[in-house]
Amino acid sequence: MAGQYFEYQFFIEMLILTSSIFMHLVRKNSSIVVLYMVQSFLVVLLLVLSSIHRLSAALLAVIVLTFLVKVVIAPVFFFGLIKKNRLKFSVSTYLNVPVTLVVLTALVAVAHSHFFTSFTAIITRGPDTLFLCIASILISFFLIINRKGALSQMIGVLSLENSIVAFASMAGLEQTPGLQLGIVFDILVWTVIAVVFVSMIYRQYGSLDVTAMRHLKE
């Protein structure tokens, strides 16, 4: 039973990493939101697995709320923003796709290098899964760096948060249900404020490209 549990975890984590990589490759704003939805759903699945493994009923309430915030409410807000401001094709990056892929490969290699071997002290079984989580964190970080659009950067931040949650779940660093509820509520508020703020910026400057905004300011 325990062996199957770790295999499921590994499989889900691999899918989370894949979604992070695909976020770098897609060129449409709506696609990146869909990918975020998928990634969030995978995180929820990971939490469900954890709750089954730990037989914790309180965690189920957190899972339901996480599902509502990350898989339903946040994407609805983002789709509303895209539709309202016609942002379907406004993705632009600093690095082109081949170079981006090279950097992603390097980041996955770094995650599996001896830099992070000390983390194996945290988890004795399934260290490969832990490395996948770290790779996912680094790739999400890189998404924020490489994207010029404010919407993509917001998705990058949320993807980073998903990766951290997955890492915490894998490393057994989950917090009490009360604290997790607080974190999810925090994300909800952050998403609402960010979307409203981005909407106002777009209305003011007619662009969500951060480099263009800097020129407009000057």
């Binding site: 600093y94 770094v110 001896h114 830099f115 992070f116 000390s118 680094l138 970080f141 890189f142 924020i144 760096i145 490489n146 994207r147 010029k148 950067q153 951060v210 480099t211 800097r214 300011k217």
Partner: protein, 684 residues
């Protein structure tokens, strides 16, 4: 809290009294006269209490202390007043008392123009700051009160804020004083790292455990930090512009006592807390003192703004104090406590004397400025006719600063010479060279200072008025004259009673950690002062009697000879032209020949503007104006390149702050990776 009436209680109550005066003055800000009166009276009563307190400590030899812990483990509100602190409290209080008496009528000309309540507030806070600086016993508390003193003095410098020149001077002062504070902070942090405490007593007890490298670094940091406040060259650039910008009674305090707080801390650190010290510390200070003394007087000689000129003389006199201090450090390092004590006594004596005569000169200059509404020496002349008492008092100050016997400036410079001569007798050729050059520098400084004050007194008070305002000048109010008269009397008394003063100062020196009670007081009584086992002896009362008697004999002899003949009064032959002030020698003309001798150092620039009767012909000049200025070599070769370098480096750092969120996240990312690398490397 100590019991009411004990001496420890006064340590706390005196600064608190000044702070109360500041608050009351601020509350009365709507009423100019009441605010002036309140600020002045609190300062006068507080200063009187300060004098009594300091004298009682000096006479009894007791130590007053008080310590109040705070919620921060490294900070305690600690005061400790030993003889050295009491000596500085005495100087500060004495000058504050007389400057405050002077200020009561002087400040009236600001009524209706500036906020008098604010002036009273800053003035009292400034005094409280100075008193607390010389009595603080904890490094962090010291930095707090140091900052209070610096900020209050900054606001006093820019008090006449309508003048852009004052704002500029204030900005330079603000930057320089905070740069100095940064160095002091670094010095204290280094001491804390080694000793684990900011309390001066703890640092002193652990001083032997401080590694030499740390000690030397602290020396250099403290020298720059406190040297900036003291105004030594090349950290003096703020002083000639900041001191003249403040109201005259504040200028007197800044020049007379505030800069001495830097000297006080150097004495406290090097001769008490961190003693013993290596010999090169003393030699560095002697060299700095020699350079500051000589260049200070040269710059003063070429200056024609009376307050700036006096400010440059402060640099000169700080240089003389440094000669004594540096010599004391050196002789202490070679174990000659008796000569070291003599050197320190010379430094302390000159500290006191400079406060007195510089206070007198600044107050005299303030009186002249308030009557003529200008600071330019070129626009004075003939003021002795309209302000004879002020002229006499200013002359006394001029003679004292020029080290003329029997006044106080003479005896402290004589003691400094004895200190330097002791260095010349040593075996090491290098040390002998340093002391010989320092003695030469001091001799030259004395001569140039006398020349400078011949210029100042001559162009200000003698000959005929050079401007219309002079002919309307009159003597100031009685309290202003009284304050100056007391200072003038002190210049005489401090010169006349050198023996008792030296005895008291020897006791001050003996209490410092470096001497550990071993200081040998030179044989001195009211009549004579003997130094270095009879090598040098002087009797100031005899000098006074000889000079007075000699002057009287000459006076009566001349009178007897010339009264026999008929005195004929007739007009001076003037080549057929009308006698006018333009025929008098100007301050520029007087100093030109000396400036040209030192042109290699001063780098003078001369500009001649000539107006012709016929501009097309240009044969017959109507008027010709010569403007002589000195190039600011410190700005050109030190501060400007420094500022340019800092600006260039700042430009690189500014590029990092691009405003792009991507860039900021990239920095976080790279830092994360960097930390991981460091972590792994350390693990390996």
């Amino acid at each position: 809290m100590p019991a009411l009436g004990t001496i420890d209680f006064w340590v706390f109550i005196i600064p608190a009294w000044f702070i109360a005066g500041a608050v009351v003055s601020l509350l009365l800000t709507r009423y100019d006269h009441a605010a002036n009166l309140a600020g002045g009276l609190f300062a006068i009563t507080g200063a009187a209490a300060g004098i009594l307190f300091a004298v009682s400590i000096l006479m009894s030899g007791t130590i007053a202390s008080i310590s109040m812990p705070t919620s921060f483990p490294w900070l305690s509100v600690s005061f400790r007043v030993d003889s050295l602190s009491a000596f500085f409290v005495l100087i500060i209080s004495l000058l504050v008392l007389l400057c405050s008496v002077y200020a009561l009528p002087y400040v009236k000309h600001y009524y209706g123009k500036y906020n008098i309540g604010l002036l009273g507030f800053m003035y009292n806070i400034f005094i409280a700051g100075m008193i607390m600086v010389v009595t603080a016993d904890n490094g962090i508390f010291f930095l707090i009160v140091w900052e209070i003193m610096s900020l209050a003095s900054y606001f006093l410098v820019i008090f006449e804020r309508d003048n852009p020149e004052h704002i500029r001077a204030g900005s330079v002062y603000f930057i320089m004083t905070h740069t100095g504070t940064a160095f002091i902070l670094l010095a204290f942090l280094l001491l804390y790292r080694t000793t684990g405490s900011f309390d001066f007593a703890v640092i002193k007890n652990s001083a032997s455990a401080i590694p030499p490298l740390v000690k030397n670094t602290v020396f250099l940091l403290a020298l720059v930090g406190f040297g900036t406040k003291a105004g030594i060259i090349p950290f003096h650039t703020w002083l000639p512009s900041a001191h003249p910008s403040a109201p005259s009674h504040v200028s007197a305090l800044m020049s007379g006592v505030m800069i001495k707080t830097g000297v006080f801390m150097l004495m406290r650190l090097f001769l008490d807390i961190m003693a013993p010290s290596p010999g090169w510390w003393g030699l560095v200070i002697v060299a700095l003192g020699a350079v500051s003394a000589l260049l200070g007087v040269l710059y003063a000689l070429s200056e024609h703004d009376i307050k700036k000129l006096l400010a440059y003389h402060s640099i000169e006199n700080i240089g003389i104090i440094f000669l004594g201090l540096g010599s004391a450090l050196f002789f202490l390092s070679i174990g000659d406590e008796a000569v070291a004590a003599l050197c320190l006594v010379a430094a302390l004596y000159h500290t006191f004397n400079h406060a007195v005569f510089k206070g007198l000169l600044f107050l005299g200059a303030g009186t002249v400025i308030s009557e003529t509404h200008t600071r330019s020496l070129e626009e004075y002349g003939g003021l002795i006719k309209y302000m004879p008492q002020t002229a006499f008092l200013f002359l006394t100050g001029s003679l004292a600063i020029s080290a003329m016997p029997p006044l106080n400036g003479f005896i402290s410079e004589w003691l400094t010479f004895q200190a330097l001569f002791s260095g010349i007798q040593l075996r090491s050729a290098f040390v002998r060279g340093v002391f010989t050059l320092a003695a030469g520098s001091l001799a030259l400084t004395g001569g140039l200072a006398a020349a400078c004050f011949v210029k100042v007194f001559g162009t200000t008070f003698l000959a005929r008025p050079r401007s219309h305002a002079v002919s309307h000048a009159s003597e100031p109010k009685l309290s202003m004259r009284a304050a100056m008269a007391v200072l003038a009397l002190l210049t005489v008394l401090l010169g006349l009673f050198a023996g008792p003063v030296v005895s008291i100062l020897s006791k001050v020196a003996a209490e410092l950690g470096g001497f550990a009670g071993r200081a040998l007081a030179p044989p001195a009584d009211v009549w004579s002062l003997g130094l270095r086992d009879g090598f040098a002896n002087i009797s100031m009362p005899v000098v006074f009697a000889l000079l007075t008697g000699g002057t009287a004999v000459v006076f009566f002899a001349v009178r007897a000879v010339f009264q026999k003949g008929r005195t004929v009064t007739c007009r001076t032959w003037d080549c057929g032209a009308d006698l006018s002030p333009r025929m008098e020698i100007t301050a520029t003309g007087f100093s030109r020949s000396i400036i040209m001798i030192f042109k290699g150092i001063l780098k003078p620039t001369q500009q001649t503007d000539t107006e012709y009767n016929d501009a097309s012909m240009r044969y017959f000049p109507k008027t010709s104006v010569v403007t002589l200025k000195n190039a600011n070599i410190y700005e050109t070769y030190f501060y400007r390149p420094l500022v340019n370098t800092i600006t260039r480096i700042s430009g690189y750092f500014k590029k990092i702050q691009s405003g792009s969120i991507n860039a900021y996240v990239l920095y976080i990312f790279l830092t994360l990776i960097g930390l991981l690398v460091v972590y792994v490397m350390r693990g390996m």
